[in-house]
Structures are given as C-alpha cells and as structure tokens.
C-alpha cells in the first residue's frame, strides 16, 4: 500500500513538474484582425510597449509582429493579461519564454499558403504577411520589394 502511494505520489510530482516547466509557454490560440477579416493560429511571445507591437509565434516557428491596435479587442485584452503574467519583454527573456534576438529573425521560408490569385496577380493578404514573405530567408540578398495597392473597394467585388 505504502509502495503504491509512493509510486503514485512520484507520478503526481512528475506531472506537476512537467506542467510547471510549460507554465511559461503561452498556448496556441486564434488571433484575429480588428476588422475580423484575417486570423492566424499563434502563441503570444511578447509585447513591446514603446512600439506598441505584439510578437506572436506561428505554428511553424516563425515570428509575426503586429501592431496592438490592429488586433481585435479580445486579443488586445489577452495581450494585457499575458503582459501581467509575463511582465516586460526583458522579464519574458529572463524567464526563457522568448530568446533575445540580436538581429531580427528571418523567416525560415516564404509562406505561400495564404497567397491568392486574382486577375493573374498573386496577392498576399495583409501588409505584415507581405513584408514577411518579402524578407529573404537566408540573407538580404533574397529580399524582394513589396507592391502595395491601396484601393477603394474589394479586389474581387465592387469597387
């Protein structure tokens, strides 16, 4: 009996330890743009109060930086609560939740999954996605320029 309790106690301790190690990792969740037209699955990494920008980590490991006011209200509230849990960017780095980057991380590969085609042109929705796709994965030599069309109306519908 005592051996059985010791065994299950040990299992319980290991379980709690495992949960504690993951306590600092933010879970994956759905993030939406303020106009609710775009969404992405990602986890919260950090918030820069000076630039008012949120860093998210996508499922493929890439980082995505978004202006706080471009996110939906519920996401903004989530950022606020996450800040309270994790503290500042420096706190998050010291806890090992995020790694300190000396230079901006380059995307591992260009994400073509969200590219749509209209009128024979390949369009990447969202400026931040386009800028990320335009950044070369190996070096700035692979960088591409972005053509940004600001237009009154929807590309596929009425204008």
């Amino acid at each position: 009996m005592r051996a059985m309790l010791t065994h299950w106690g040990l299992v319980l301790i290991l379980f709690i330890s495992f949960q504690s190690e993951n306590f600092g990792q933010e879970p994956m969740r759905q993030w939406s743009s303020r106009d609710n037209r775009q969404s992405v699955e990602a986890s919260f990494q950090s918030y820069d109060p000076e630039a008012k920008q949120v860093t998210l980590q996508l499922q493929n490991g890439e980082s995505l930086v978004v202006d706080l006011n471009e996110l939906g209200r519920s996401d903004q509230r989530y950022v606020k609560s996450a800040r309270n849990r994790l503290g500042t960017v420096d706190d998050a780095q010291s806890k090992g939740v995020i790694k300190k980057e000396v230079t901006p991380a380059r995307p591992k590969h260009r994400d073509s999954s969200k590219v749509t085609t209209a009128y024979g042109i390949h369009w990447t929705p969202g400026i931040e996605n386009a800028l990320s796709n335009a950044t070369g994965s190996e070096s700035s030599e692979d960088d591409r320029p972005v053509m940004w069309l600001r237009v009154l109306g929807d590309l596929n519908g009425f204008m």
Binding site: Y119, T124, N129, R144, P145, M147, W148, L149, L152, G153
Partner: protein, 214 residues
Amino acid sequence: MRTVTFSEPNVQNILNQNFVNTFTNTNGDPTAGQSIKHRPTDPAGPCIRGNGQQNVQTLFMTPAGEIFHVATGFLSGDDLLKEAGFALDLFKQIKNNRNSDPSSFVAQAHRDRLKSLGFDESEINEQNDMARIMSMMNATPIGGRSGRVPGGANQSGSSMPGANIFQPFIERQFLEDNQFSIKHPMISHKQLERDPTQLVGNGQSFFASSSSGN
C-alpha cells in the same frame, strides 16, 4: 485597373516574379474619395493616367515596410510596367547601398529621374499649391509639347483621340508622385496610413465605369 491593367501578361509576369503583392481596401478611410460602385465585369471607362488619385495608389516598399516609390491614380499596363521597372531597379540599388543613407539615395534617384525626363529644378522644387495652380493655368495649349511621362501607349496621355489637353494634368500628377518620394523618402507604411493626405491630399476624386453597378 483590375480588368485593364492587371490582365496584361507582361504586368502579371513582372509583378509575380519580382514582387510580393498585397492590397488594402481603403473603404471607410475619409481620404479615399468616392466611387460609383462597379463590378469587375463592368466595361472599363476611358481613364487617363492619374485619374482617381484618392481611389487608388500603387506603392512600392522594402521588406521593412519603407515606401520608396509611389504612383497614384489609374495606371495603364504600360504605365505600371514603367513604374514597377523603376521601382525594381531602385530597390536593387537600395540593397547594394545599405551602408549609406537610403533616404538620401532614394530622394536623389527621384530627382535624377525627373531631370532625365525633362523636368527642371524649379518644377522639381515646387512646394505649394499656388505653384501647382499657376502651373496648370499656364498649361500648354492643345497640340503642344510632347509628353515627359514614361510609359503609356499614349504619350499624349490617353487612349482618347485629341487628348493632349490632359497632358498637363498627367505631368502634374507624375511630378507630384515623384516629389512625394523626394520629400518623404523611405517613409514607413504605418506613417502613411496614419495620414494618407501626405500622398493623396484632401481632394475628392472618384472613379466611375461606363455602366454603373448596383
């Protein structure tokens, strides 16, 4: 531009092979002007370069979101090819000159472009609206000087016959677009979104197709 400009294979090739393309719907932006709603399938009405400056703008950015070249209003296929070609060359030079100040470089590249096309220093350095009005009032009469704007199957400015009367408008629009990059080289897209009037002014232009949508 959807059915006229983007449908051209040369335009599709240059944009798809060399650029990452994105768009923003400016509906709701008070600076976006107005438009009589039209479907993509509505026949395109006659448009000259620069029409609908508030309705549509084509901007070129670095991957860091720095705008280094702009063209406002309607662009034909040839117009867009010329502007995209200029933007591509300039982007390559920006990449090769990252150690020097890219803002100065971009501003100078636009000055050089205007000079090479025949614009003089006084025109390039014009600062105020009064100068613009006076310039348009002194516009060359019908049948006057040859165009200074690159691209366009119509150096006279339009596919419409006898369209020289629009040349001053086209040149003025072209000049202002390039002046923007001289005054605001490498401006961040966020800065422009906060105040688009830096580019499009406070006017109220609008597009209309030859048949109205619903």
